[in-house]
Amino acid sequence: MSETLRFSAEEIADGVRSGRLSAEKVTRASLRAIESTRSLNAFLHVSSRTALESARELDARRARGEALGLLAGVPVAVKDALCTSDAPTTCGSKILVRAQNGQGWLSPYDASVVQKLRRADAVIIGKTNMDEFAMGSSNENSAFGPARNPWDASRVPGGSSGGSAVAVAAGLAPLAIGSDTGGSIRQPAAFTGIVGVKPSYGRVSRYGLVAFASSLDQLGPMARDVRGAALLLAAIAGFDPRDSTSAKRHVADYRAACDRDPGGMRIGVPDEYFGEGLDPDIAAGVRRAIARLETQGCSVRPVSLPHTRYGVATYYVLATAEASSNLARFDGVRFGLRVEPPSADLSRMYGSTRDAGFGAEVKRRILLGTYVLSAGYYDAYYLKAQKVRTLIVRDFAAAFADVDVIATPTSPTPAFKLGEHVEDPLSLYLADAYTLPASLAGIAAISVPCGTTPGKGDRPELPIGLQLLAPAFEEARIFTLAAALEAEYPPRAPDAHRIVA
């Protein structure tokens, strides 16, 4: 990692604001790092020209004595699910690539989060790789090849925000934006040893995020350190009139929350998250981390979330149903690919475009979603899942009556090998079991690193993620605990020789 990029996001922003660091120099270091790690496939588009232009402009504004924003000169990698007016957006899919010129769709507008990044004087460094339409937990569903885990390039970085996780973990950018529908920020954060926050539903505007499952989708920060995540969330959180599901709620001071003493906080530990299928090294690492929080003055007690085992089935009914509706807009008319067999009518053009443009997992989910919404099955699957969702919401409400925060593993296993789950889609769905319930309940969640598994056999040391959950709009609580935990487990980068391997 270059010297410049060893600075935290906060240090870079402070340095650029005060003139000690040049935004252009930071941007060049980030672009060089991206160039030298192409084999990780973290980026689908690198914004070299526009990034350098905006960095130079920042330096010029600073030289003129202007005050710069919260993220002054900080390189931020943006998941390719967000619309950007100056860089192509593909959402990891061929259906958003135009056949005429092989170029990704160019959005006529910026997503609200992208606008907020620009207003905070961040430097948008590029668009990151992802599972197609954010459907997947390994990045292997990207139409442009998987991103690779910098801790071991034969392993997945997790997904769907895998490219964003790799960009941060490999030191290419200190901050990244991810999106999380069922764990797509938290699980890749856990797999790559970084911090990932899924804010409460409604905390961050989704205007300009390509929609997957609208009752679940949420955008959030990914960062090397907890304070970086707090800084980025501060820049993007808040009400947006263009997203009617964004909440008109006060945005707390998340950085101040990082400095708060965690003493006296009550941590609940649900048995249901420590059962069958949990890797013993993950279980040991997570229990050790919880014990360390206890020594910092937190009290730890068991809580029960009895409907946890229904989370996977509930999620995959609801998310696929919503996806089958949201993805109807990709029909070859307004953007991207069109496949038009000779003398095809409109309906045939739709069908051919969608068959050629969507990958196997996206088609699987669209068909599943169409099935659970179709006549005769709606009550048995969709309505049933909506009712079970109510029970999952109630589980959390009851648990939070007794505790401030709930602590669990983020993922039952560390990063797995590329190809390990390719033949059995259901086995990969089951691996999301620990992240899905918080998404269904719309509560605040973070994954924070808590050490590594011991290396053995062909499995090197791999990062372990601790998931902390708080009631909706109580992000400050998880920042306080995450910062306390970070003091015990300082941010650690993968060995450089693995990154370039």
Binding site: G202, R334, G336, A360, R364, L368, Y381
Partner: protein
């Protein structure tokens, strides 16, 4: 649980995805396995439980009835696979014979 070939073709038609014949057998197998797993939900009695469609949306905000933020037509059409006459061009869909 079994999913027949015709079930897959029926939902593919509803979803406007023209599957290639070789895609169908794997989908029959995978959809059956996933739907069978989803039957787990029937373990729970939910007759008296209200469904949840959305969380945390307590009020639906209203906005002024005013035009705002419109996109430039040319910029949008530039990105279309085919455009003509100031609009998106599509194959014939009305039989005029």
């Amino acid at each position: 649980m079994t999913i027949e070939r015709n079930d897959v073709l029926h939902i593919a038609r509803l979803a406007r995805v023209s599957l290639e014949p070789e895609e169908v057998p794997a989908l029959m197998r995978e959809l059956a396995a996933i739907l069978e797993y989803m039957d787990l939900l029937n373990e729970i009695e939910t007759d008296s439980v209200e469904p949840t469609a959305h969380v945390a949306v307590t009020e639906l905000p209203l906005r002024a009835d005013a035009v705002s933020g419109e996109l430039e037509r040319d910029v949008v059409l530039e990105q279309a696979p085919r455009a003509g006459g100031g609009g998106f061009a599509v194959p014939t869909f009305i039989d005029e014979s």
